[in-house]
Amino acid sequence: MANLAQAIRLALHYGEENLGVTDIFGEDVGPPLGGVFTATQGLKTTWNTPLDERGIIGTALGIAYAGGRPVAEIQFCDYVFNCIDLLKLCGNAHWSSAGEYNVPMVVMTPVGSGIHGSIYHSHSFESIASHIPGWKIVMPSNPLDAYGLMLAALKEPNPVMYLAPKALLRVKGEELIPGEPADEKTLNQMINAPLGDRSGWAPNWPKVEDFTVPLGKAKVCREGQRATVISYGRTLPLCVTAADELRKEGLDFDVIDLRTLYPLDMATLQGSLRKTGRVLIVNEDTEVTNFGEHVLRRLIDTCFYDLEAAPVLLAGADVPGVGLAWELERASVPQQPDILAAMRKLASEKA
């Protein structure tokens, strides 16, 4: 099974071959490295940029204006924060020009904690990203979705922000990507660059197929009656595991993977909340003006009177960074036990 980084690579390959992708670029995205997380190894349209995030985003916009199909990478989302003005421009070009131009571009960037990344290399980006109008925002939590969301992003005529949860990039999928060889070793041999000298290497791409996870469609990962748990990215599998654990105690949960953060799949969220009357939203971005608060507010707008208990946000601590020492990281962003505890508490809260 492909891991999440490989799934992105396969999707980008599919995009180069079938969806008109012209440029996959960013710092260390091209040979020899193929991306600090290997997500762009062996692709034919990659190139290495100057160390200049503003140049990366601006150039992507220019390529899109000129009819190209760019995929720009910011090496870590921790380094995108000098470009918020440019991201706003990308997001408002269509509207400002009253429809004259549109901007088909994808920005992808690894986000979040989980690799001992310390103060930088652990940032989240969804809260600020979702506040920038004109972007669609996705965040996969498994390789198949990573593949399908990337294809959807590459078909989209508008800017799409593709957030890749760093902690899950090496995690293998449970479902095969259409066209992916069933045997993991075979896949690795086909598409992973060798260690050492790579100058003579070329990938041997499997014939992966069209498979789209439509933008704006959440996925119900577990079904239950007791409460709704909404998450995405690194914390999603932790929620699933917690739900499986608690099911043994007789507490069953809807666990919903948002997959697309903007636009929200309100129908799925409302349906679940109307059923359960309880909701926990989990992410790891810092908790002040957090995207989960938006989800919560949207649910309150339409389902307040369906709530049986106070809705809960479990998010990152309101501290200036994720510290390097494990105890610091553990305490800064939700971990498995925190999620389990929050779910148990929500399930048992008196109505």
């Binding site: 969806l19 008109g20 012209t22 440029d23 940029t49 100057p50 200049d52 503003r54 140049g55 985003i57 601006g58 150039t59 992507a60 916009l61 220019g62 390529i63 899109a64 204006y65 000129a66 009819g67 190209g68 760019p70 003005d85 440019l86 421009l89 070009a93 269509h94 509207w95 400002s96 020009s97 009253a98 429809g99 004259e100 131009y101 549109n102 109008p133 004109g134 669609k136 078909k155 989209e156 005529p157 508008n158």
Partner: protein, 335 residues
């Protein structure tokens, strides 16, 4: 100076018809802007910013552009003082009046943006942004597509002097000169000596901003931006070089800011700035090409044109509140 040779070779050889055409476009641009200023002063618009004093630069640029859609033609990454260029390319003064009045018929933004914020896809004019100098990060993107595409299309980026202080100017120098991937980019600095109220001499060590291109191995030069013929030759030389060599060039033109920064600073005529139109009319008269009367006739023709246009605009509808929801996302296309 680091100008391509051709600049000198062709000097002083503009055909009389071209000279008169330049004059005509200069008058068109000036009178359009002056009407805009009167409108904003009269409360017929919320804000004015524009280009009076930059006609001698903007008009020749407009004449030299390869106009069209797609990478075979030039891409334009303009700032908010580009009306002479865009009008010379064929934009209609009435559309500027529309944008000034924020009518629903404003073709560039449907009443959303300030005047002089163009967006014309058929001519590769990408949306003018109010953010100073961000265009310098975007220009290399269109040029990169053009370089790969082949042909002679180039990407033209304009900006002011103060704005070169933004790091984006350096970004553009770097991204346009990657070894083996030099880009067909024209960087055009319109140096008027000010950023709003702040004198360039207060914040910039050198008045020769184009020289910053040198250490990147980029050719560069400087021209009198109040002399339309000098501008024509300098631009022609630079653009020829870029079209042919597929490499960038940075040109600085020293221009005037005839009505101050914008309506925020009053938009009054500044007496001690050189006026390129006055100078050019004197020159054409001296050369026996344009009598005072003939010049006045040109003015009169544009005045009449503008008057009529304005009457028309007054009839046109304003946007509706529901319009805010239009064009947030482009509709999905067949792939």
């Amino acid at each position: 100076m680091n100008m391509p040779r051709t600049a000198k070779d062709k000097a002083a050889k503009l055909a009389p018809e071209l000279k008169l055409r330049i004059h005509d476009h200069m008058v068109q641009a000036r009178l359009t802007e002056e009407l805009l200023i009167r409108l904003v002063r009269g409360g017929q618009g919320y804000f004015w910013i524009g280009a009076p004093g930059e006609e001698a630069l903007g008009v020749p640029l407009g004449l030299l552009i390869d106009k069209g859609e797609g990478p075979d033609h030039d891409y334009l990454h303009l700032h908010y003082r580009s009306s002479p260029t865009v009008l010379t390319m064929g934009a209609q003064p009435i559309d500027l009046l529309r944008q000034m009045r924020s009518t629903a018929t404003d073709p560039y933004s449907r009443g959303r943006n300030f005047v002089n914020h163009f967006a014309i896809k058929a001519w590769n004019i990408v949306p003018v942004t109010p953010t100073i100098e961000t265009q310098y990060t975007v220009g290399p993107g269109t040029a990169w597509v053009q370089k790969r595409h082949g042909g002679t299309g180039i990407s033209i980026i304009t900006g002011g002097d103060a704005g070169t202080a933004e790091g984006d100017f350096a970004t553009c120098l770097n991204w346009s000169t990657r070894p083996g991937h030099e880009l067909p980019v024209l960087i055009l600095i319109a140096h008027n000596g000010y950023g709003i109220s702040t004198r360039a001499a207060e914040t910039q060590a050198s008045p020769h901003l184009h020289e910053r291109a040198g250490p990147f191995g980029m050719r560069h030069g400087e021209v009198d931006g109040n002399d339309p013929e000098a501008c024509y030759f300098a631009l022609q030389a630079a653009i020829d070089y870029i079209r042919k060599e597929r490499k960038p060039f940075c040109l600085q033109a020293n221009v005037s800011r005839l009505y101050g920064h914008s309506s925020s600073s009053g938009a009054q005529l500044i007496k001690d700035e050189r006026d390129c139109l006055v100078e050019y009319e004197a020159r054409l008269e001296k050369e026996g090409l344009l009598s005072k009367d003939a010049a006045e006739a040109v003015h009169e023709r544009w005045r009449a044109h503008l008057k009529e246009a304005y009457q028309q605009v007054l009839q046109e509808p304003m946007p509706d509140s529901a319009d805010i929801w239009k064009h947030i996302f482009a509709p999905a296309q067949e792939v």
